[in-house]
């Protein structure tokens, strides 16, 4: 059984159809990078997955159970957590309070404040400070820690490197690698393709609300991903062809071959 699955998911922002007939599956242990240009629908898709934005049609299944109509706070307790774009910390609460809040309201499990501080040791000295006085990197660490405190089975990270210095991004990704080693399933939205591919086991490319390419990170070529990213080879033919986990590889292209002749991309070769 898939950990997370969407079936023909459609999400609207008013008149705009931000996510169109998206179907994919995520298995336990996957690290899935969602890549695509701004406005591709990645963040909206993530919000729909956690229940912060209700879809207009389609289904979201968590552990095989239909959670489509379930609100965000209940879905969080079922084991899915989002680190939203822009971090969205509770600025007037301290780091400890931000973490404790999630611990009290979320699911019970192994994640405690001490465990978060092991992953993000730089937070230890800032634990009593209000979130609004932290640096961008510290805020991002707190946001990820807050999500972890709900003890999720799946962690969704939306643009975790946005607005951070390169050194801060390095620290955040180092922490993500530690989480990966700890068997947390992660879905990642990232503009920085190389960063995303350095940790991802699978890649999903989105364009104008659709999945236009998907596959294992080591098998999709960089050219295929970039083509899908910018839409130069994009020709959506139906979302069922883009299941992550159910199929290893799928690229919509005008010649239909899905091959570009470029070298495969994985964490070691991307860049």
């Amino acid at each position: 059984m898939s950990l997370l699955q969407t079936q023909d998911l459609d999400v609207r922002h008013g008149l705009l159809r931000a996510v169109r007939n998206v179907s994919f599956e995520v298995q336990a242990g996957d690290i899935v990078a969602f890549v695509g240009a701004n406005g591709a629908g990645k963040s909206t898709l993530f919000r729909a997955l956690v229940g912060a934005h209700l879809p207009t049609s389609g289904r979201v299944l968590l552990h095989g159970a239909d959670v489509t109509g379930i609100p965000a706070h209940r879905r969080t307790r079922m084991g899915i957590a989002l680190v939203p774009e822009g971090r969205r910390l509770f600025a007037d609460l301290t780091v400890r309070e931000n973490l404790a809040l999630a611990r009290a309201a979320g699911r019970k499990g192994p994640w405690e404040i001490d465990a978060v501080l092991e992953v993000f040791p730089n937070l230890a000295a800032r634990i009593g400070h209000k979130a609004k006085v932290l640096s961008g990197g510290e805020q991002q660490a707190t946001a990820i820690g807050r999500a972890l405190m709900t003890n999720p089975d799946i962690l969704l990270l939306d643009e975790v490197s946005l607005g951070l210095s390169p050194a801060a991004v390095d620290r955040v990704y180092e922490s993500i690698r530690r989480l990966v080693a700890g068997n947390v399933t992660i879905l990642l939205v990232e503009q920085d393709l190389d960063r995303a591919l350095s940790v991802a086991t699978r890649v999903v490319c989105m364009l104008e609300g659709r999945i236009v390419a998907s596959g294992r990170a080591g098998e999709l070529t960089r050219a295929e991903i970039i083509d899908a990213y910018f839409g130069s080879r994009e020709r959506p033919v139906g979302s069922h062809d883009h299941s992550v986990g159910s199929r290893d590889r799928s690229v919509d292209s005008r010649d239909g071959s899905g091959e570009s002749g470029d070298r495969p991309v994985n964490g070691a070769t991307a860049g």
Binding site: A52, A72, H73, F90, L93, L101, A104, G106
Partner: protein, 299 residues
């Protein structure tokens, strides 16, 4: 001596204003709702105290044990029945909804009790007029001191509750970002209902002292709302203690206004409110004001 007396009476009066403003400020800070029915709800509680004391001879302070829980239930129902629904339709709808509620409450009270003023003075013995003499020609009323102490305890208790308890943290988080609390497993609607219940609990306490200080009629709600609103606005956003500060500024202004002219009581209070409001708007547009506001937020 008269200036010291005016200052002292003004400070004590500020405690009363803080008490009646506490629920209004709490609801605004958490739910961003200006509850225009606040004054009328205080009056409901006052009539409930008067009924229990007048008809069944229950001591008003004992009646607190029944009326405060009853008001919290009303707060919960108010949030679930009216406020939650109206919040989905922008900021104007809750204003209109609570204004309509105030009109309905006032007229229902009038229908039931008529226009006669009611007071609890007869049920609290000498507390309504007794005072302590601090110095020659300097007196403080026992009731005024009691109200000030109750306001301190209430505001202090609420501040501690918000700072130290999981529910308090959840309320603060919800007031900051109601959309994001769901992502950490918190039901914002439930938290808002708790907040409304707590706010109405404080309304119950305010309703005890309103008819002790003077009289109350079915249409007293507007006056209560006006002074509560002024105290909240003068104090400004942020900590609940600012409500006390706002109440004291308002009370002292009124007290000194009365010293200057017998009819200066109300004018002085309203004038200070207006001046502070204009100054705040002007300062918020200036660099100095923005720096000051930033410093104040970093507390």
């Amino acid at each position: 001596m008269s200036a010291i007396n005016a200052l002292l009476q003004g400070v004590l009066l500020g405690g009363y204003y803080a008490l009646i403003a506490c629920g209004l400020a709490f609801m605004y800070q958490v739910m961003r709702i200006i509850n225009l029915a606040h004054g009328s709800l205080v009056v409901i509680a006052s009539f409930a105290f008067w009924l229990l004391a007048g008809r069944w001879g229950i001591n008003p302070f004992i009646a607190l044990l029944a009326i405060v829980p009853a008001m919290t239930l009303i707060g919960w129902a108010l949030e679930r029945g009216i406020l939650e629904r109206s919040l989905h339709h922008g900021q104007l709808v809750p204003l209109l909804a609570t204004f309509g509620l105030a009109v309905v409450i006032d007229n229902l009270l009038f229908l039931q009790f008529g226009a006669d003023p009611r007071s609890l003075a007869n049920f609290i013995g000498s507390l309504s007029y007794d005072s302590w003499e601090l110095a020659d020609e300097l007196y403080v009323g026992k009731l005024a001191v009691l109200i000030f102490v109750v306001a301190l305890v209430l505001l202090g208790g609420l501040s501690l509750f918000l700072a130290r308890t999981p529910l308090g943290r959840a309320i603060r988080a919800t007031s900051e970002d109601p959309d994001v609390v769901g992502l950490v497993g918190i039901d914002a609607h439930r938290i808002n209902a708790f907040a409304a219940a707590i706010a109405l609990g404080t309304v119950g306490v305010a309703g005890l002292f309103l008819p002790m200080r003077g009289t109350v009629t079915p249409y007293s709600g507007f006056g209560v709302l006006l002074f509560a609103f002024e105290a909240v606005e003068i104090g400004g956003p942020g900590s609940l203690w600012r409500v006390l500060a706002g109440g004291i500024v308002l009370g002292v202004a009124q007290s000194f206004g009365a010293l200057v002219h017998p009819q200066g009581f109300l004018i002085a209070g309203h004038s200070v409110f207006l001046v502070i409001l204009i100054a705040r708007v002007a300062l918020s547009r200036s660099v100095l004001g923005q720096v000051g506001a930033r410093l104040l937020r970093w507390n």
